[in-house]
């Protein structure tokens, strides 16, 4: 596998030892995307993340987890049991030449193994240790067990997230709580890296997924404080808090072949005024929404309008939307500055001309499967350096043991056999 030259990538030349598991692994992936040498450290036999579906052709095999494939793209991997003395010793050797240690264990676990930040700092004062956990390293909930949805719930970001008549609901069937926390961890790691470039000193980056998830509630703390308003359910729309009482604005409208996202609006939001006006014009052409023809959206007082009147206006627009397909509506929207967009299925996403045109999809060679697979690429384009290209597919179990242990650390083949038999690697 060809390594890109250090000077050809953003983070070429930096190395991360990646102990994270599950969805937390997207942190190291981001670094690997930008050219860092990310070495995944799995327990002997393979990380349990490899048992998470979906699977390639629905074959539940630890070398075929699509979840693993994406989150560990652009990484190499070694097997190592850091709970053994020998394994811990090997890990410390690797820390000597690493820039980052990424981990997502229960707070205290690394300390118990004698691998906490203080000790790693002694080995390598420049090491940046990034610990990504649901709540952070300390505090009353630091040892709570959470999984995705539960963390989101405990961030205040779930309670209002439902229909008017349903329980609170989960945000997609994927672990968004861990994914967003880990992405935030990558950002934090880079802040620490910048400090290190100035001073030579590494530090400990203590990431709380709960804090970034709490970002979802936006100004909710103030709203509650001022108005003692607790929204109950949003469904396909949204409540706005105002002194005259909550105002519900629908945002997801059924159309002929699915749903579109459209928000009517007025007052000082110039974009929404134009958008709403133009949609009415489009509807008028079809003989619909005629009663809205002369509505001056810029004069709509969103702070005072009654829910009944707002509903009448929205229902009228909804009736028109119902008569068209996603594509018809979207084509009209783009041509007329209407802020309306289809709610896409995964299929729509993959087929969208926009992402194709930006060359967002990248082919990843999976020679072990006999084919290449199109993956989501990197969401940012840059100048000066070659465009994003995946370095390598996600690693097989122990795939780079020889590269690291033999070529780098100088173990002989016989020694590796012994370490394997002992369960160290």
């Amino acid at each position: 596998m060809g390594e890109q030259q250090n000077s050809e990538t953003m983070l070429g030349g930096y190395r991360a030892l990646d102990l994270t598991q599950g969805a937390f692994s997207i942190c190291g992936k981001l670094m690997g995307d930008l050219g860092a040498d990310v070495i995944k450290i799995e327990r002997p036999g393979g990380d349990r993340t490899r048992n998470i579906g979906p699977f390639y052709k629905d074959i539940p095999d630890p070398e075929k987890s699509l979840f693993w494939f994406f989150l560990n793209l652009n990484k190499r991997s070694i097997t190592l049991d850091i709970e053994t003395d020998e394994g811990s010793g090997i890990f410390k050797r690797l820390v000597q030449t690493a820039d980052f240690v990424l981990e997502s264990f229960q707070p205290g676990y690394m300390d118990e193994l004698g691998l906490g930040y203080g000790l790693l700092e002694d080995i390598n004062p420049a090491i940046i240790m990034t610990s990504i956990t649901p709540f952070g390293q300390t505090g009353p909930y630091a040892h709570y067990k959470v999984k995705d949805m539960i963390g989101t719930a405990m961030s205040g970001a779930m309670h209002y997230f439902r229909y008017l008549d349903s329980p609170p609901l989960r945000l997609t069937p994927l672990p968004q709580f861990e994914l967003l926390g880990a992405l935030s961890g990558a950002a934090g790691s880079m802040v620490a890296l910048y400090y290190r470039e100035l001073t030579g000193a590494g530090q400990h980056v203590d990431v709380s997924c709960q804090q970034i998830a709490a970002g979802n509630i936006m100004h909710g703390i103030d709203v509650w404080e001022w108005m003692k308003v607790a929204f109950r359910g949003m469904g396909p729309g949204q409540f706005a808090a105002r002194p005259t009482g909550l105002l519900y604005t629908r945002m997801i409208f059924p159309c002929k072949d699915g749903y579109v996202y459209f928000m009517a609006g007025g007052g000082a939001q110039a974009g929404l005024v134009t958008s709403s006006k133009r949609l009415v014009e489009i509807a008028n052409r079809d003989g619909m929404c005629l009663e809205l023809k002369d509505l001056d959206w810029s004069q709509l007082d969103m702070g005072a309008i009654a829910q009944e009147e707002w509903d009448r206006i929205q229902n009228s627009l909804g009736d028109f939307i119902r008569t068209k397909t996603k594509q018809e509506l979207f084509d009209e929207a783009i041509a007329n500055d209407v802020i309306l967009i289809p709610t896409t299925s995964i299929k729509d996403v993959v087929e969208s001309p926009q992402f194709k045109s930006r060359e967002f999809w990248v082919e990843v060679d999976h020679s072990e499967l006999g084919e290449s697979i199109a993956y989501p690429g990197f969401p940012i384009k840059w100048t000066e350096l070659p465009p994003y290209r995946p370095q390598r597919r996600a690693p097989l179990i122990g795939e780079h043991n020889s590269d690291i242990y033999e070529a780098e650390l100088g173990f002989s083949k016989e020694e590796l056999v012994m370490l394997k038999v002992q369960g160290v690697i």
Partner: protein, 417 residues
């Protein structure tokens, strides 16, 4: 570097509006960067016109929604549509290390502030553009926000109950994802510039950033032709997994049982009722097949306890469970308090109110939120005089021409939602 501020001395000309671009600037400012936010009374940033407003009185400086991404920044009022305004903007670029942009493609170019123009002013400038769809492509001019972005990335279709409409995101969810990617890239560019002396231009698609958080499902479609669909609060691979009603009004607990041990512990906590011994619920596969009944039975137990009690009992037994917190709960959350997450800062018109802290704590260089988001033009004097070195006469001229705007230029009514 003064004290322990990572980005002390780093200068950002923050032309970006709404959320993603400004959030990047706020993160840098939280760690010591000097960030100047450029706004205009005539065309207030959309976030400033969204309510609720302090004391129910609307105003471009009275809504906390408008303060979310701008803590620690200096705010100036400048009309870049005017030639003299553009001149001043260019002076700001000459001062800056970083320039942010979130306008519809072409807008900054119209103002002579696109990357190539800025490069002429400052050859090593690092410039980041972030929009919903990115700078190019058939949809590049689609002017939407994070809510639309999340919808187009596929989040809505995957959220809600299977037999009902998709849920709106409520939060513009891609607005939280996109800045993380951008921060990583911007800092990498800063480091590269230290070594090479060269700047860089970034073009972000916020929707693409969102898609990366759906990637396993994308691969499931690409490889297996499976189109993922919404499944309420369920998980494809575990049961029970959901939210259950508790004692009190509109109180819920979230519970997820992944392993056999957790299931055994869960059954113990709920008192080993007979139904847990039924083969219908003995294995994961069986629970999946009888999930409706499972959820109903669990709900019959949970309704007699408070969410807090259930969370405590379950956590003691090693079962993942948590209170579905309201905004009030979040404001009182002991863990968020321990992390000092909500920072209360004194805003000139709103008074003391809450700001979110960064989600990561750095052991040697802590973040510091010290200044509330600026009112529009609040820091004109400081920026124009101290940073840009404009004379009193120059400033007076700019005011007279309307290149520097004042409250008098703001829209008459902004009774936004």
């Amino acid at each position: 570097m003064k004290g322990n501020k990572v980005f002390d001395g780093l200068k950002v000309a923050d032309f970006a509006w709404v959320a993603v671009g400004p959030l990047v600037g706020q993160l840098l400012a939280s760690f010591g960067a000097t960030v100047v936010k450029v706004e205009c009374h005539r065309y207030p940033d959309m976030i400033r016109v969204v309510g609720p407003f302090k004391d129910g009185i609307s105003g471009i400086n009275r809504g906390p929604f408008g303060t979310l991404p701008n803590a620690n920044k200096y705010g100036i009022s400048l009309d870049i549509n005017k030639p003299r305004g553009q001149e001043v903007a260019k002076k700001l670029v000459a001062w800056a290390d970083l320039v942010s942009d979130s306008m519809t493609p072409g807008t900054m170019a119209k103002w002579g502030l696109d990357y190539e123009s800025c490069r002429k002013i400052k050859p090593d400038i690092i410039y980041y553009s972030t929009t919903m769809m990115g700078q190019h492509g058939p949809l590049n001019r689609f002017a939407g926000y994070g809510l639309q972005g999340a919808a187009y990335a596929g989040f809505c279709e995957l959220t809600g109950l299977p037999d009902r409409e998709p849920l709106t995101m409520v939060t513009p969810y891609t607005d939280l994802i996109a800045p993380q990617y951008l921060i990583v890239c911007v800092i990498a560019a800063l480091l590269r510039r230290r070594k090479t002396g060269k700047g860089m231009y970034f073009d972000q698609s916020q929707v693409e950033a969102g898609i990366t958080c759906l990637a396993p499902l994308v691969l499931d479609y690409v490889v297996n032709q499976r189109i993922a669909s919404r499944m309420g609060s369920r998980d494809p691979y575990v049961a029970p997994h959901g939210t259950y009603p508790c004692r009190g009004v509109d109180r819920w607990v979230a519970i997820a049982v992944s392993t056999h041990q957790e299931w055994r512990a869960f059954c113990q906590v709920i008192g080993e009722p007979d139904w847990t011994k039924d083969p219908k619920f003995a294995t994961l596969l069986a629970r999946k097949e009888n999930e409706d009944e499972l959820d109903r039975l669990i709900g019959e137990w949970t309704k007699d306890y408070t969410a807090e009690q259930i969370m405590a009992m379950m956590q003691d037994a090693g079962v993942p469970a948590g209170v579905v917190e309201t905004w009030e709960d979040a404001g009182n959350d002991p863990q968020l308090k321990h992390r000092e997450h909500f920072n209360f800062l004194e805003h000139k018109e709103i008074g003391r109110h809450a700001y979110h802290s960064p989600a990561f704590k750095l052991s040697k260089t802590p973040a510091e939120l010290r200044k509330a988001s600026p009112c529009l033009g609040e820091d004109n004097e400081y920026v124009y005089q101290e940073i840009l070195g404009l004379s009193d006469d120059e400033i007076a001229e700019l005011l007279a021409e309307g290149a520097i705007t004042t409250e008098a230029d703001a829209p008459a009514t902004i009774s936004g939602l």
